[in-house]
């Protein structure tokens, strides 16, 4: 039975599940009524969903972040999961806010989109606090199954169907690989709990490769590869550009924000708690290098807006992987978390802008040219975000990259830091090219500038304020991430040994 503390810890999840069910039933009842048009109703559902997510943020926020193992140790709540939950819910709330005003427009007819977003968010909440291989897999599947449906949600579009199918096949493949890794680990150790795996890995006979007494390297590698698939790191990124391009812009926004947070949080937890022996480190090292290089080189050649964003996000995943590719040090984890939060703000901002221009025409980068002349506020916002992505000093993106490279140097991964700086300099080229496109090039055709709706404007204003003004007062961010990293390392007293780079 759950005791009171465990039940209180699960409140955000319970809230999301209940709201999902209620919205689903409500939606079905209203959708069956022929008198009402569908579109405004999507708006209502989105609005209700948004408030539910905001309420969940409050629920997580007021809860005391103490370490609780709940339901036979399959879920673990501590300060790390606590803050990651808030990051995730903020990301979801931002995405839904972009959707609210789109409810009435052409792209989003089905209210189920919102229901699926809420359902996958609850899956990701469980994923963040998972502390058992099985519950982790189940939560991950709950999340990705919702995503398959979301990717294919625009049924009359060829691209969207293709994206859904591709995502489904490759996602299922990666899940299979992941599950195989889990089964290998279970087969050789007899436990699936993270803490128990941790204590088994901790006493491994160092330097004696005896397959019968350790956690098998192949199992760990399969798990890491499954993770790399999910975060679109480089050797396993093939699905990402097509899927992101084919899906609806709003869905793409959700794809590139929320799962990154949840899966990075889970990945840090797993790799840090279960497998101290760092067999996985070199794999992440190469994934990080590859992601940075490919993200940089491939984004340079893109003409389409969404593909550009995807490659830039692959590059950013590379930068984030630096955080723990060089060894799970405190600085590394902290910089990863800072990077994630800033990436969240920047990506929400970029997608807010793209959602705003979408009704006009937003397929190609060249079409952005018109905004420099006709919509100066939009152009300034966009330029600031691009500068931040590129890592120009006073903006948040610089802070994130600087701290990541700093963490890499601190743990001795000079190669990663050096390469990160080089790719970051190269990436300035194409981020600034967009700014040039907007201000100095003549657009192919003049369009009516987009109408920024209210919710979208609020999101843009908040994120731009965060990006530009963060450097004035960074200590809360550093304190919170430090606190999170402490929570991660302090749990069960095992993690400290993992900090040996």
């Amino acid at each position: 039975m759950l005791d009171r503390a465990e039940l209180l810890g699960l409140f955000p999840e319970i809230l999301l599940w209940d709201t999902t069910l209620i919205l689903l039933v409500l939606g079905m009842m209203v959708a069956r009524t022929p008198a009402r048009p569908a579109a405004p109703f999507v708006r209502t559902v989105a609005w209700l969903g948004l408030h539910c997510v905001l309420l969940a943020i409050v629920l997580v926020g007021v809860g005391i972040p103490i370490t609780i193992n709940s339901i036979h140790d399959i879920l673990l709540t501590d300060s790390f999961t606590h803050c990651c939950d808030i990051f995730l819910l903020v990301g979801t709330a931002g995405t839904i806010m972009l959707i609210v005003d789109h409810g009435g427009r052409d792209t989003l007819r089905a209210f189920e989109t919102i229901v699926l977003i809420l359902l996958s968010t609850s899956g990701m909440l469980v994923l963040i606090s998972a502390s058992d291989l099985l519950i982790m897999f189940i939560a991950m599947e709950l999340q990705t199954l919702c995503f398959y449906v979301l990717a294919a949600s625009k049924r009359d579009s060829e691209c969207s169907t293709e994206a859904g199918l591709k995502y489904f096949l490759l996602g299922a493949f990666s899940s299979g690989l992941f599950l195989f890794g889990c089964s290998m680990v279970y087969g050789s150790t007899g436990v699936t709990n993270f803490e128990e795996l941790g204590i088994l890995a901790l006493t491994r006979s160092w330097g004696v490769p005896d397959p019968s007494t350790g956690i098998p390297i192949i199992g760990i590698l399969c798990i890491v590869v499954g993770f790399l698939f999910k975060i679109t790191a480089v050797p396993f990124h093939m699905w990402a550009p097509d899927v992101y391009e084919g899906s609806l812009t709003l869905v793409t926004a959700f794809f590139s924000i929320a799962p990154k947070i949840a899966i990075f949080a889970n990945m840090v937890r797993v790799l840090n708690h279960c497998f101290h022996d760092h067999d996985w480190q070199s794999l992440l090292f190469f994934a990080s290098i590859g992601s940075m290089i490919l993200g940089t080189v491939a984004a340079m050649a893109q003409q389409k807006v969404k593909r550009f964003v995807v490659y830039s996000s692959i590059g950013h995943v590379g930068y984030l992987c630096i955080g723990f590719a060089g060894g799970t040090t405190m600085e590394g984890i902290q910089s990863l978390l800072i990077g994630l939060l800033i990436y969240l703000f920047m990506t929400v901002n970029v997608f807010g802008l793209f959602c705003a221009v979408r009704p006009v025409r937003s397929q190609y980068l060249g079409d952005l040219g018109v905004f420099g002349k006709l919509h100066p506020l939009f152009a300034i916002t966009f330029s600031l975000t691009m500068f931040s992505y590129a890592g120009i000093p006073p903006l948040a993106g610089f802070c994130s990259k600087f701290y990541l490279f700093f963490g890499a140097i601190r743990c001795g991964a000079d190669v990663l830091a050096g390469l990160g700086v080089v790719t970051s300099v190269i990436s300035c080229f194409y981020y600034l090219r967009l700014v040039k496109l907007m201000y100095f090039d003549l657009p192919g055709e003049y369009m009516i500038p987009p109408r920024l709706d209210r919710d979208n404007s609020i999101v843009l204003a908040i994120t731009v304020a965060c990006i530009t003004l963060m450097f004035l007062y960074t200590s809360p961010l550093f304190l919170v991430t430090h606190y999170m990293a402490m929570g991660l390392f302090a749990e069960s007293g095992v993690g400290f040994s993992g900090s040996v780079a």
């Binding site: 007899g190 436990v191 204590i199």
Partner: protein, 83 residues
């Protein structure tokens, strides 16, 4: 297996050994103190040492049987074996 739930509903086969190991890990100062308990647990899981021992016993017996057979057949083969 280490969870306490056995396949037939009783306590799992290696549960006690895992609990000993876990108990040790919660109290020890360095993890290497509990290596032996950990080995016991892995032995319960995979029977690697037991199987290795059986294999060696079996091999030794085969060798002796072969030797005896060779001795019975004649001295010439025995010489070859020794060299």
């Amino acid at each position: 297996m280490a969870s306490g739930f056995g396949i037939r509903g009783f306590r799992g086969r290696c549960y006690d050994l895992f609990m000993d190991f876990r108990e040790c890990m919660t109290h020890c100062t360095i993890p290497q103190d509990c290596t032996e308990l950990r080995e016991d647990y892995y032995e319960c899981l995979h029977h690697a040492k037991e199987l290795k021992r059986w294999y060696r016993i079996d091999k030794e017996r085969q060798r002796q049987e072969k030797e005896a057979a060779a001795k019975g057949a004649g001295g010439k083969e025995e010489e070859e074996h020794k060299s």
